[in-house]
């Protein structure tokens, strides 16, 4: 029971942290609940499909199909997060300024919501397929006692959701003025972490060089396998033994996203800057 509790809890938490960030980042955008829920539903469906075709996936592309698939969806998530960052740089200030004004940038908001729904779907799909495989294993091997294991899974699901919800609540008590600068940073870190993982996976299957198999080993200090390590891995891409190319992809993505949002969000979009009132432009981002 403890094993299933831990596995389900861990996977739910990893996906849940991402959903929490997305929810906080889209705070105030109309109908975001629907989009995020759609993303979760799509992710669950995808997870079941991926689990069902795990065999075919593993054997695809000379046995590296699993890695190639993960790299593909991670890259898609990074693109979507990048899109959102740029969109927020354009509209974040006016959203913060006229929160209550209905329909603030609704059209653009929908595009950004679609991007974020895809990110949510991908996060749920990735972590969810492991849960599905694990639960399938329980269902097949009945001698292990499916009931306590399933009970553990349900408790893990609840605990993981609760912790993710707390993160979300913790984020949204930040005043609206600062919320978007916090979530924008979180989104950039999230994207950087995913880009790093994708690069590391490509290096593992020898598509790109590793640039150093292991740049450092901080596992004694904070193991990636520990709960905190797992959470940080999901949130900001923490790795206790990163490869060189992983760190490089991480930094490039981070710098690119931050400088893009700075560049696009510069206050020379004049009328927006004025609408925001006496608020210094740099703070609103």
């Amino acid at each position: 029971m403890l094993a299933s509790l831990l596995i389900v809890f861990r996977e739910i938490l990893e996906a849940g942290l991402i959903v929490g960030i997305v929810l906080a980042a889209t705070e105030g955008v109309r109908r975001r609940g629907l989009w995020v829920a759609g993303g979760v539903a799509g992710g669950v469906l995808g997870a079941a499909l991926v689990a069902g075709f795990a065999g075919a996936l593993s054997n695809a592309l000379e046995g590296v199909g699993q890695e190639a698939f993960t790299v593909g969806i991670l890259s898609l998530a990074v693109l979507m997060l990048g899109w959102h960052t740029i969109w927020m740089a354009r509209h974040g200030r006016e959203m913060a300024a006229e929160m209550s004004a209905a329909g603030a940038a609704v059209k653009g908001g929908r595009k950004s919501l679609l991007a974020m729904a895809i990110v949510v779907a991908i996060a749920v799909l990735r972590e969810g397929s492991e849960v599905v495989l694990f639960l399938y294993g329980i269902a097949v091997s009945t001698q292990e006692g499916p009931l306590p294991l399933l009970a553990g899974g349900v408790i893990g699901l609840l605990l993981g959701s609760l912790l993710s919800y707390l993160l979300y609540r913790g984020l949204v008590i930040i005043p609206m003025r600062h919320l978007f600068s916090v979530t924008n940073t979180l989104v950039a870190l999230l994207a950087a972490g995913m880009a790093g993982q994708a690069a590391d996976l490509l290096a593992r299957i020898e598509v790109i060089p590793t640039w150093g198999d292991q740049l450092w080993d901080s596992s004694a200090f904070l193991s990636e396998g520990s709960l905190v390590g797992r959470a940080l891995h999901a949130l900001i891409g923490y790795s206790d033994r990163p490869s060189g190319v992983q760190v490089a992809a991480y930094l490039v993505t981070l710098v690119l996203l931050i400088s893009l949002s700075r560049y696009i969000g510069r206050p020379n979009a004049t009328q927006r800057g004025r609408k925001a009132g006496g608020q210094p432009a740099t703070q609103a981002r």
Partner: protein, 106 residues
């Protein structure tokens, strides 16, 4: 989609770069066989993990930085090395109480 095509092309081209050394590892009754696996140090090799159980397993190792699903009845490749001499623990993520092993690079 174009990205995936480019990736598969890259994979096909780089396929020849994979090492020829093949090491076998199997999973039976949620245990690794052999649980203590000797591998060559300092060279690249391909670990073939075969799952003889009717349930899925995930070959995972923090020390080797690998995590890969092994569907029931299937064999999957894991590309490893060059490793420094030493011991590297691995486990089955879905049955951690029994599926434990250690890789010894010499």
């Amino acid at each position: 989609m174009r990205f995936i095509l480019a990736l598969s092309a890259a994979l096909l081209v780089s396929g020849s770069a994979f090492a020829d050394d093949v090491i076998h590892l199997s999973i039976k009754d949620h245990k690794y066989e052999p649980a203590r696996l000797e591998v060559p140090a300092g060279v690249k090799f391909k670990l073939l993990v075969k799952n003889e159980d009717p349930t899925p397993e995930e070959f995972e190792s923090f020390e080797l930085k690998r995590e890969k699903v092994v569907p029931p009845g299937q064999e999957i490749p894991v590309f490893l090395g060059p490793l420094d001499p030493g011991e590297y623990k691995f486990f089955g993520d879905f049955h951690q109480d029994t599926a434990q092993g250690v890789m010894v690079a010499k």
